[in-house]
């Protein structure tokens, strides 16, 4: 392990983070707030970055896969730690600040802020912005901006975006990262304009764009989207959540390569199918129990299904008050997540789809033991080792889910709160049920509980392997 290399890159990453802190500083100043908080945070981050990066020039030959895993995992941890500084300076306890910051960068959207509106506009802007940065990925941004990381860049890309199928838009990873970020920025700009035209003020438009496009879910208001009670705004947000939960590489292809690329994609088709089915069922459930009339049942169902499925976690209504059948449906949907290459979390649609095909094949093979059946994705054969890695991913995912649920219940939470809080953080969704419903927050958790959920978010955002691999003996062995 070459720690010098790791420290060097982390230092550069902190410089980037420090510079980004200047944005909320100026936003705060624009609204007449004191620049003190972010000035201090900026200074600390830059100094820390300099200390870290002090001994570099990273020698490229020493760079191995292990270093890439470490940089990505600790890069996210460092971003969450230093990103927490402004929260601490505004009076939050260190663990709360860390929770809030990690929840931001990992686009979870779970909050421990008791009185959100009491915080400064600069801080709430930073809170939304961390989600936007984390959505497309801070390492990806780093790769896009820094010159020539070469092989290391490719490894880091794989460690941060470990979907089962690599989507190479360009031969060079830096170009690919740039394109993905550019598509992300472009769609964000469109959404921001749309929200502004729908009647939101500039501040609300920008902060909500940040958290929609990232499938994040933070809002500067405690009531979330319900605060606006505006069907047009909900419609716009629905549409962009839908885009954000799909593969960004496909968005690019659709504009520059082949107009039909989204519709030809197996994963996108399955993603749309799940949304349609879940929305229909939820609408009927809500209508049957006379919670709303038919129109409103549909309005809240489609918003909540999209929001939970893609792991955004916005609430346009307090879905925790819905009947158990509806809550169960949303709980199940939490496991799915967005498409690979999206900003959404969860297990990811492609993995679910391939697992279903895998199960189907195994059933068929029970009848025809010697049959050779290929599992296809978009017409191409999926190699067995990809299938194996998907299966082990899901196994590890569920182990973490059950262990953390168990630990939460030992801290005195009820069963459904524990289960839902565990998947809501592991899947980077945010709000859960019962104690941690969309109108409540996570502040009532004990210190260890918060730490556990921070760990969940971190593991979930990096899709398990990148973090878990460091817990293996083989990783540290010389």
């Amino acid at each position: 392990m070459n720690f010098k290399v790791v420290m060097g890159v982390l230092g550069t990453l902190l410089w980037l983070l420090g510079l980004l802190m200047l944005i909320p500083l100026f936003v705060g100043m624009y609204y007449g707030e004191s620049p003190q908080t972010f000035a201090i945070a900026f200074t600390i981050t830059m100094i820390a970055g300099t200390v870290f990066a002090f001994r570099i020039e990273p020698a490229k030959e020493d760079w191995e896969l292990k270093e890439s895993f470490m940089i990505v995992a600790f890069g996210w941890l460092a971003a969450a730690i230093f990103g927490a500084i402004p929260f601490v300076l505004e009076g939050m306890t260190p663990i709360n600040a860390f929770f809030e910051s990690m929840s931001g960068f990992t686009t979870t959207g779970a909050t421990v802020m008791v009185n959100i509106e009491s915080h400064s506009r600069g801080l709430l802007f930073w809170r939304s912005m961390t989600q936007w940065l984390g959505g497309m990925g801070i390492i990806m941004l780093f790769i896009a901006i820094l010159p020539k990381l070469g092989v290391a860049g490719r490894q880091m890309f794989r460690a941060e975006v470990p979907g089962p199928q690599e989507d190479k838009l360009r031969p060079r990873i830096r170009e690919t990262a740039k394109i993905l970020w550019m598509v992300y920025v472009a769609i964000s700009v469109v959404e921001c304009v749309a929200l502004y035209l729908a009647g939101l003020n500039l501040y609300d438009s920008v902060t909500h764009t940040f958290t929609t496009m990232a499938c994040g879910g933070f809002s500067p208001y405690a009531a979330g989207i319900a605060a606006f009670d505006n069907p047009v705004v909900e419609g716009i947000i629905c549409f962009f959540i839908f885009l954000a939960g799909a593969n960004f590489a496909l968005h690019y292809r659709m504009f520059y390569v082949d107009k039909g690329s989204l519709l030809k994609d197996d994963e996108f088709k399955f993603y749309t199918l799940i949304i349609v089915i879940a929305t229909t069922i939820l609408t009927l459930l809500l209508f049957k129990d006379r919670i709303y009339d038919l129109g409103n049942s549909f309005r809240y169902s489609v918003f909540q299904v999209l929001s939970i499925l893609t792991s955004t976690g916005y609430a346009s209504a307090d879905f925790n008050q819905w009947p158990d059948s509806g809550r169960m449906l949303l709980f199940i949907v939490m496991f799915f997540g967005g498409c690979a290459g999206s900003t959404g979390g969860g297990i990811k649609i492609v993995r679910i789809l391939l697992l279903l095909r895998y199960a189907n094949r195994e059933l068929f093979k029970a009848v025809h033991p010697k049959a050779v059946r290929i599992i296809r994705f978009n017409g191409k054969a999926v190699p067995d080792d990809v299938m194996h890695s998907i299966v082990s991913f899901v196994i590890i995912y569920f182990i973490i889910f059950f262990v953390s649920s168990g630990l939460l219940s030992m801290m005195g939470m009820d069963v459904f709160s524990s289960l839902s809080a565990s998947i809501a953080t592991l899947g980077n969704i945010g709000p859960a049920f019962n104690l941690f419903g969309p109108m409540a927050n996570y502040d009532l958790l004990p210190f260890m509980g918060k730490l556990l959920l921070v760990l969940n978010m971190w593991i979930g955002r990096l899709e398990v392997f990148t973090v878990m691999v460091m817990l293996t003996f083989a990783f540290w062995k010389k």
């Binding site: 025809h368 033991p369 010697k370 049959a371 050779v372 059946r373 290929i374 054969a381």
Partner: protein, 442 residues
Amino acid sequence: MKIVIIGAGEVGYHIAKSLYLENDIVVIDEDEDACQRADELDVQVIKGNGANATILEKVLIDADLLLALTGDDEINIVACMATKLIKQSSNTFKTMARVSNPDYIDRPIAKRTQVGIDVMICPELALASEIADILSIPSAIDSESFDDGKIKMMEFVVKEDSHLVDKHIRDIGLFDCCIVSALFRGSQIIIPHGDDIIRAEDHVVIIGEKSAMKDISSFFGKIKKNTAMIIGGGIVGLYLAQLLETTDMKIKIIEKDRYRSEMVADTLKKTLVLWGDGTDLSLLKEEGVGEMDVVISVTDNDEKNLLCSLLAKQMGTKKVIVRADHFDYVPLFEMVGVDRAVSPREATINEVLKLTMGTGIEALTTIEGDKAEIVEYTVSKKSKINDKLLKNVNFPEGSIASMVINDNSTIVPRGNYKVKEGDHILVFSIPSVLPDVEKLFK
């Protein structure tokens, strides 16, 4: 015509044999024994590498056609490309190569004029499409197609309960564009005319246009052939399955190599691919080989093919078709109970000779051993037959005009077809009357 044939193996030798009577043939081969055998024909034999430019330069003077038929794809391709460069000035010079590797060829016959090969032929794929042809018309036992499949020749068996039994040929009501070209009765061959009578167990050879041939099969009773099992997922098996997937047949294919079976499963969309051995009895039982309508055994091992197909037959399969790489095995296999044995060499020879049709190369194809021949003649100004209606031409007993190829089309002529100068007429004939037929065209 001067024709250069590279490779005097099974394929090259038989083609030389079919062509040497009417054309100047030069055969090039490296193998001593092959050279000696070719030398028994009236052809010029050169011992050497067929892709050697020095040899080629010498023999190519005033040559019209090069056939590269060795078993080595690269030699064939290089030979064709080299000769095209040497003969740059000649527009009429044509090249033809035998190529097996699926990387180079994906159809039985492909054109690659841009790289200097006018026609490429793949023996394995030609064999596969021949089998698919037989299977696509359920009652047919043999099938050949001409002119890109526009014309088909098929052999049917007349069953005892068929309504055709004891009828005159002119009364069976064939479609306009079909013609009965031959009747095989036991070991006897009859080139029929209107007043010949069809008997039970006769084999009837019919030539006709593709669209009409589909309906013809109903004349001979329907054998439903909805399920097929292919043993061996090599080039032949895979391509055959691909062809059969376009029909509504349900197919299972057995391949014994793990990776190959995965590759086959990847290529095929509807076929059930099984990883196993064709001689594995429990596998055959499990997959219900006894209920199969047809089992086709096409591994590259003749003896194994025979074993698999006889096993299948034993278990109740209605019909078995077997690939025999060994030319001489074809009659032997059919003797021990295989319904039909096919050889890639035969398929290639047939394809090559079909390609020479209508080009003025007077070639000769044999049917059912040497019992009948298809001979192509070109009508010239001085021909007796020129400008006559076919029904007025006195074809000798035992011969019939079955196809006419002119500038732009291939047709199956009826009595009122008027013969024109330049027509290539394919005559179906028993060997003994050939000299008389020839006189008609002189």
